[in-house]
Structures are given as structure tokens and as C-alpha cells.
Symmetry: C2
Subunit: 152 residues, 2 copies
DNA sequence: ATGCGAATCTGCACGAATTGCAGACAAATG
DNA sequence: CATTTGTCTGCAATTCGTGCAGATTCGCAT
């Protein structure tokens, strides 16, 4: 079992290029940069965070454009938008079915796998048409659990 | 089995009064009104929503005071704060362990019970100290599923 | 009852996150 | 290369929530 763990990313930049053109959306340098930043992104960045990363490689890119592109990707289902932390949305390049552990101290999110998540017994779903279930494990990451003073 | 289903509310106004005084917090008419509004509240109101309800009975109460009181209650563990919907926090007077179904069309939240939620197998929790798990079942409420046009 | 000090209330300014808008600009297409 | 159409940027506006300060009130000890 030496196979590397599979990690799901947002689709390749080239695939997103095709998908955008197919919808009549243009493929600009700004969008290509974001495609590249998102592909292989391990975290759960905010729009501001991606804006900061993008600005390093393309000074002058606007925050407005970052939001625009992220919203387009989310509308196309190429990106998940998470509403787990207060105040701001997290964008998840991992579009595979998965769940999250959230540190209640620093807010960090990490991917987890919950095999039985879609087979949970649920009481109280009368007059409701469920599509999918998401699980959040709250707790403390090791740095926060170790630190005497809360981190952040 | 004719017993009514148990519904967990935030503690009685009288109990909250004691709890507040015990912490050196004063019990004002504004706070007592909010205690009453929250007790027995079936939904998952926003601060603005509670402000609207409170304003009917006490015109002139300020939104700032509503936030202040809700934050105090949350800090004392007498109220849950949910970050499930985009943009705004939901306050949950039901402090019993429970989970939620969320209509992805209209945003409505309802309580559900997930008996196995705390015994889920989770892969990927290395270097993490879990406290509790929360489950969100996404889907459509019947009105939204029935409507040709999305509600809201 | 009265008075005092600490906590609270309200109104407003401010901050963070996100969207609306408009004119300059660039991608796609033939 | 010219045209069309969508995009980019900057800025205003919006929404949710918090910081602040002065007037007010609560809770407790006279
Ligand atoms: Mn994820
Ligand atoms: Mn609830
Ligand atoms: Zn942490
Ligand atoms: Zn609905």
C-alpha cells in the first residue's frame, strides 16, 4: 500500500478554460491565474486570502475580480463555498464529497472523511427532501490545544 | 405513547435572571423581554429578527442591546450561535444536543435528531482534539420543492 | 426610602465582507 | 483587423456586527 493518498483538487486550469468558454465566459489572465492558484490548493482560503496570493503574481488585480471569478466557479459547481466560520465564506477547491474538522479556537478547517455520513439515521425530516449531508467535527487543533494562551 | 414530544428551550426567564445576577450582570427590562422572546422560540432567528420582535413590545429598544444580550447569553452557554447560513448568524434557543436540516433554496433551518452523530467514524483527525460533531442535512423544504419558481 | 457606583442603554461612527455600477479595456470570432 | 460582447478596475453602496461615550438605571448598602 505505497500508493499516495488521493487528493481531490478543483479541475485542471485547462479544463476550466474549456468549461468557461463553453458557457460563453471569457478566459482572461486574471482568471487563469486564479485557476492555477486554486488547483492544488490544500486549504480553505477566503476571497481576501486568494486576493493576496494572486496579487503577488499579478500586482494590480482587483479584489472585485477575485470575487467575480470565485462566484462564477461556484455557480458552475467547480468550487464549493463553505459557510462554517463566522463573518466570511471559505472556498473549497476540493469538490469531492468530504467533511471538515474545525478548530474552535483559531478557525482552521481541515478535510476529513466520514464514511457513514450519507447513511445516517435522521429523525425529523418530514416534509423535507434531503440531498446531501455535511458533517463538521468541532474541536481544537494541536497547536491550539497545546498553547496556554489561545492562538489568534 | 401519547406523551408530547419534548422540546428543549433556552432556560426559563427566571433562571436566566439568576444566572445573570450571579455573574454581576444586571437584569434590565430589555434583557427580560429578550429572555421571554427566546424562551419557547421554535425557530432560529437572526439578531435583526429578534430586534423586530422585541420592537413590537418595546418600541425604542436598540439593535445594539439585542446584540449585546445575545452575545452575553451565548458566552454563558445559554444560547447556541450557528454559522450555517451565509451572511448572518442564527441564534438557537434550543441548547440540547441536536442537528439541523437546511433548505438550500429558502435558507430555513429546522431541528433534527441524529442518534449516531457522536459515534461517527472519522478519518483524518490526527493531531486534532474533537469536542462535538454537528450534522447539517441539506435539501429542499416541501414548499420550495413544490414551487415551480424558487421561493424567496 | 436614599444614595452611590458599576453596569447598561442608546445612537452613532466605524470596520469587515460583499455586491452594484460604469466606463475603459480586452477576448473571441470571422 | 474590426466588431461584438464580456471583463476589469475603482469606487460607491450595503449588510452585519462592534467600539465608543454620555445619559441612565440597576443592585446593593446605608
Ligand atoms: Mn474541504
Ligand atoms: Mn436548532
Ligand atoms: Zn487551532
Ligand atoms: Zn425552502
Amino acid at each position: 500500500m505505497s500508493r499516495l493518498a488521493k487528493v481531490a483538487f478543483v479541475r485542471q486550469p485547462a479544463e476550466l478554460t474549456v468549461a468557461f468558454r463553453a458557457k460563453g465566459l471569457k478566459v482572461t489572465p486574471q482568471r487563469q491565474l486564479l485557476f492555477r492558484l486554486l488547483h492544488g490548493h490544500e486549504g480553505h482560503p477566503t476571497a481576501e486570502g486568494l486576493f493576496a496570493e494572486a496579487s503577488e503574481q499579478m500586482p494590480g488585480i482587483s479584489l472585485r475580480t477575485v470575487y467575480q471569478t470565485l462566484n462564477d466557479l461556484a455557480a458552475m459547481g467547480e468550487l464549493q463555498v463553505l459557510h462554517i466560520t463566522p463573518g466570511t465564506s471559505r472556498f473549497d477547491p476540493n469538490v469531492e464529497s468530504h467533511h471538515h474538522a474545525k478548530c474552535v479556537s483559531c478557525g482552521q478547517l481541515r478535510d476529513i472523511h466520514v464514511p457513514q455520513a450519507q447513511q445516517l439515521e435522521v429523525v425529523g425530516l418530514h416534509d423535507f427532501h434531503p440531498s446531501h449531508t455535511s458533517v463538521v467535527v468541532n474541536g481544537l487543533c494541536t497547536p491550539c490545544a497545546t498553547a496556554t494562551d489561545p492562538i489568534q
